[in-house]
Subunit: 173 residues, 2 copies
Amino acid sequence: MRRTTLLLLGAAFAAGAIAYLTPGTGHADQEIYVTQIPDGYRDWKLVSVAHEAGNLNDIRAILANDIAIKAYREKKLPFPDGAIIARIAWKYVPSEENNKIFGRDQSFVAGDPPEWYLQFMVKDSKKYAATGGWGYAQFGPDEKPADAKKMATCYPCHEPIKARDFVFTRYAP
Amino acid sequence: MRRTTLLLLGAAFAAGAIAYLTPGTGHADQEIYVTQIPDGYRDWKLVSVAHEAGNLNDIRAILANDIAIKAYREKKLPFPDGAIIARIAWKYVPSEENNKIFGRDQSFVAGDPPEWYLQFMVKDSKKYAATGGWGYAQFGPDEKPADAKKMATCYPCHEPIKARDFVFTRYAP
């Protein structure tokens, strides 16, 4: 896994180097995604929670590092460089244990990791200028990053939220 | 709000003192609930997330202080004294903004605080011996604690989960 990450990082750096050496290819930055899981994300503070029904059918927590949480709480936009927002998803599953105790079918909890277990937005206004200043990342349960084709869908989906610096999730007090 | 908390704390201490002075009234500890919101709970680490449908109709995050998180991650039961688990709930609301962008009705997010916005379990195996070593707390959006009648429902509901030290929520990795 670590080797894969390094290989992919290597590939990303190589792509960057090639773009740098061949001016005029344009939008080189747009090809660069985050391919390494940020350290310590599971210890970060909570932004909010959500449920995505339909095909995703997950329940999720949005966490953020201290730089991003500070900006969230102070309602400062755009997020400063160094801000990272994490989205962890789990399969949305009924809890038979809870339902039995509560006496009704009402409880849904976090199950196994789904196809796209982890997502991150990493703010670096220069490096990721072509995608609104955010580098996007997406990982499966095996912690392998999504391929470039999949990653190309991130920014267009976030673009309509430009007024909130491309971030869907609002802080839940 | 702060004055109310102090008054209620005062009342709780008074009740404790009366129980102490009148031996034989029994189960005095069982009457003592946590009536103050633990400091800094919103900064605690995430345990898991859940959705309660039906009458509750909320989406919730379960956070825990460092003592409780350590026990969770090390799978050590029972939780040690000093462990505190927090449950924050928000109204379960569809996100029209997200649904419009996603092109389908699938997104549910955290809305306003519901009737019982905050709950806590505070581990003190001596103080709360009569209720499995946990002191229970419940607060509305006004941060006022629930009355004793309401609080009396906490422990009986948690009792079936004795094998996991009375804690419903499992850690979501």
